[in-house]
């Protein structure tokens, strides 16, 4: 090491670092995955399929899918959606991408003391509206009120049960070289909309979330007889998180072409301004689909018959594992590794 004033060397971080949960653990990337595999699964004795969007349970010959999700979005209301709509569609989507038709959901509310009743009414109306739209029944629930400051206005947990479609997707572990990847719509809309609303960033036009139910898209694929291997809605951590999870599951390399991924000009502009990678930004009505070799064209055509996936397009394929689990073809045509999301994306300084 070069001789310099010791005052400008950088020491190894102190022992305080890494001993507590940080917000980065909740961002859907590498740190969350490690938290689950290293701390949560071993204690619970749970299977590694805990990474799947839903658990598939067999009882008396029937296959049901069971999932749960918690919603802590701030602000509660944002262009394109709100916490109520998100709570219904988010859980419905976890079932849908597991190849199951959502039937029943539970609704658990944790309410901060002082929340205006009118706000609660508005959220509940949204929950009812969203559930009605997709034919899902809210069959049970719970309500807790906590002192001011214990939660941020309102947190919601929903658990959902669905009936498995046939044939069932074989899952990401079955992905093999030659399989093809499709995205169901343009990316980054939800993360950008929520960030802009939360930080009062006054973009024109106002970015809107893609919050929507993906079941019509899944049904379109099944109706067309497309053999689907895996599906995943690209929520926290964005498309990059899905690709990395699938690469870890199947042991191969996933390759996509950046130019083929649909990206709205408004989202693109916000991401460029803040130095964000759209592939790392959350979505709430957009999924990645994996199909066998040669089926991408028919899969994308089938998806485009549903309005939630009208912009579906093929974006890449699986290759035998190289050194990097995920590669992205960039502007000049070179394929560069796509990093796994880790921690919150923080906007650049200059």
């Amino acid at each position: 090491m070069s001789e310099q004033s010791p005052h400008v060397h950088c020491p190894v971080p102190g022992t305080g670092s890494g001993e507590t949960i940080t917000l980065a653990h909740g961002e859907g990337g590498r740190q969350l995955r490690r938290l689950i595999t290293e701390r949560i699964l071993p204690v619970l004795g749970a299977k590694s399929t805990c990474f799947d969007d839903a658990a598939i349970l067999s009882h008396d010959g029937s296959d049901l899918a069971f999932t749960t999700d918690s919603f802590v979005v701030s602000p509660l209301f944002f262009p394109g959606g709100d916490i109520g709509k998100l709570a219904v569609f988010g859980t419905a989507n976890d079932l849908a991408v597991s190849g199951a038709r959502p039937l029943w959901i539970s609704l658990a509310l944790i309410i901060e003391e002082g929340l205006p009743l009118a706000t609660l009414d508005r959220v509940l109306t949204s929950v009812a509206g969203a559930a009605g739209t997709i034919g899902v029944a809210v069959v049970t629930g719970d309500t807790k009120v906590v002192p001011r400051g214990a939660v941020d206005k309102l947190f919601i947990n929903t658990a959902g049960i669905g009936e498995r479609l046939s044939p069932a997707p074989s899952g990401p572990v079955s992905l093999a070289p030659g399989d093809e990847l499709i995205i169901s719509g343009s990316i980054g809309r939800h993360g950008v909309a929520v960030m802009a609303a939360r930080e009062h960033l006054d973009f024109q036009p106002e970015p809107a979330s893609d919050c929507a139910c993906l079941m019509p898209a899944v049904e379109a694929l099944w109706a067309a007889g497309v053999p689907v291997k895996a599906m995943r809605d690209a929520t926290r951590g964005g498309v990059a998180a899905v690709l990395h999870e699938w690469a870890a599951a199947c042991g191969h390399t996933l390759v996509i072409d950046e130019q083929l991924v649909p990206l709205g000009q408004d989202v693109r502009g916000v991401c460029e301004l803040l130095g964000l990678d759209p592939l790392h930004v959350a979505n709430e009505g957009t999924m990645v689909v994996a199909v066998p070799a040669g089926k991408a064209v028919s899969a994308a055509e089938a998806l485009r018959t549903a309005s939630v996936s009208s912009a579906a397009t093929a974006i890449g394929q699986i290759q035998p594992r190289g050194v990097s689990p995920v590669l992205v073809g960039r502007t000049l045509g070179r394929r560069q590794p796509l990093d796994e999301p880790h921690g919150a994306q923080l906007p650049r300084i200059c």
């Binding site: 400008v8 950088c10 020491p11 190894v12 305080g16 560069q336 990093d339």
Partner: protein, 371 residues
């Protein structure tokens, strides 16, 4: 999209690549100053495309990376021990100090707020009159005008609970420090386009006269970078170094005079330690005496020196361009974005982060495979 599609056009980029390869009769060594340029070069694989023709040495243009450890430690002390609301640009929050990062401080109960603009910090102070708000003023000349404006705004509002922890640094003195080092291999510079948008490029004329190497004001998109590199190579082949502005759509020769005046009103140049590089003469900014009441160091007492352990982090060598990140034995193994040994692995403008994100995984994997 305006200015993105044209400057990311693969056809234009390939044309410039071919021109550079045609023109170069030997390998030239250039330094791109700004961390944003480093990330763009690696993201688009331009460094690999030019292997053997142009070697790109990555400069210290990451203001987060060069912020001294003591400043981060002081910021942590302020929010953890003095009840201060510490407002900062988001990129600063992940950088490790002596006792973890500011994100760790937040998790430990310190009040740390990420803001997009220093004026947001002034607003915070206005609305929380019972709390002291300190804004961590990090950045090059690009950011200094906004923090200067924040000081003016705070004065106009009569705020007594707002101050700056000043960590601004200046680019040109750092370039002088780089080429003045006896082991410097730099033969030309891609100057930082956004810094020049504020400062202009007139001040580089005497640098070129003194050091006889090209300085080309360069942007950040692939076509911008290749145009800047092509101009540097052209000058080096002809032996005619000068200052050329290849980012004229944003940077003008005289820069932004209003911003310059604002900075000159509030700040003055001073010698400053750059993390990893030692003291850079006139390499930083400090508040002028008449604005001292807004200086957090002045308000809350001086910086304490940290306790230092034996360090495996080679960020100093990376920032000064002596080694590439992948030459560091800790790269990708002991040092990753999740567990960084130093700032360049965790800042969005850090060279180590760029290598890790856009290619280093491959290198790290190859290292593990013994390739």
């Amino acid at each position: 999209m305006k200015f993105l599609d044209e400057y990311r056009d693969p056809v234009a980029a390939r044309r410039l690549l071919a021109a550079i390869r045609r023109q170069a009769t030997r390998t030239w060594t250039l330094m791109e100053v700004c961390g944003g340029q480093t990330h763009s070069l690696l993201r688009h694989g331009i460094d690999a495309e030019l292997a053997g023709v142009v070697e790109l040495i990555h400069g210290p243009g990451c203001p987060v990376c060069v912020t001294p450890l003591e400043a981060i430690d002081f910021a942590q002390q302020l929010c953890l021990e003095r009840g201060v609301v510490l407002a900062s640009f988001g990129d600063m929050l992940r950088v490790p100090g002596s006792r973890g990062s500011l994100l760790d401080s937040r998790a430990a109960g310190g009040s740390v707020v990420a803001v997009y603009s220093p004026l947001d910090a002034v607003e915070l102070a206005r609305h929380q009159s019972d709390k002291q708000v300190v804004f961590f003023a990090v950045g090059f000349e690009t950011t200094a005008p906004a923090t200067a404006l924040a000081v003016h705004q705070a004065a106009k509002c009569g705020l007594t609970n707002f101050s700056l922890l000043v960590a601004h640094v200046r680019v040109l003195p750092a370039m002088v420090a780089v080429v003045s080092s006896p082991d410097s291999r730099v033969q030309g510079f891609l100057a930082a386009g956004h810094v020049c948008t504020i400062t202009g490029c007139e001040e580089y004329t005497s640098f070129v006269d003194c050091h006889r190497m090209p300085v080309v004001v360069t942007g950040f998109e692939p076509v911008d970078l290749l145009a800047g590199i092509a101009e540097c190579v052209r000058q080096l082949e002809a032996g005619q170094p000068r200052v050329v502005n290849c980012y004229a759509r944003t940077a003008r020769r005289g820069g932004n005079r209003i911003a310059q005046a604002m900075v000159a009103n509030v700040y003055e140049a001073c010698d400053k330690p750059w993390r990893g590089m030692g003291v850079v003469p006139r390499g930083g900014l400090r508040l002028r005496r008449e604005w001292k009441q807004f200086d957090a160091e002045h308000r809350f007492g001086g910086l304490k020196l940290p306790v230092l352990d034996d360090c495996q982090c080679r960020s100093g060598d990376v920032l000064a361009g002596r080694i590439k990140p992948t030459a560091c034995s800790s790269f990708g193994t002991r040092c990753t974005p999740d567990r960084p040994l130093g700032a360049p692995m965790v800042s969005s403008e850090g060279a180590c982060a760029a290598y890790y994100r856009y290619g280093g995984l491959a290198v790290a994997g190859a290292k593990e495979m013994g390739v």
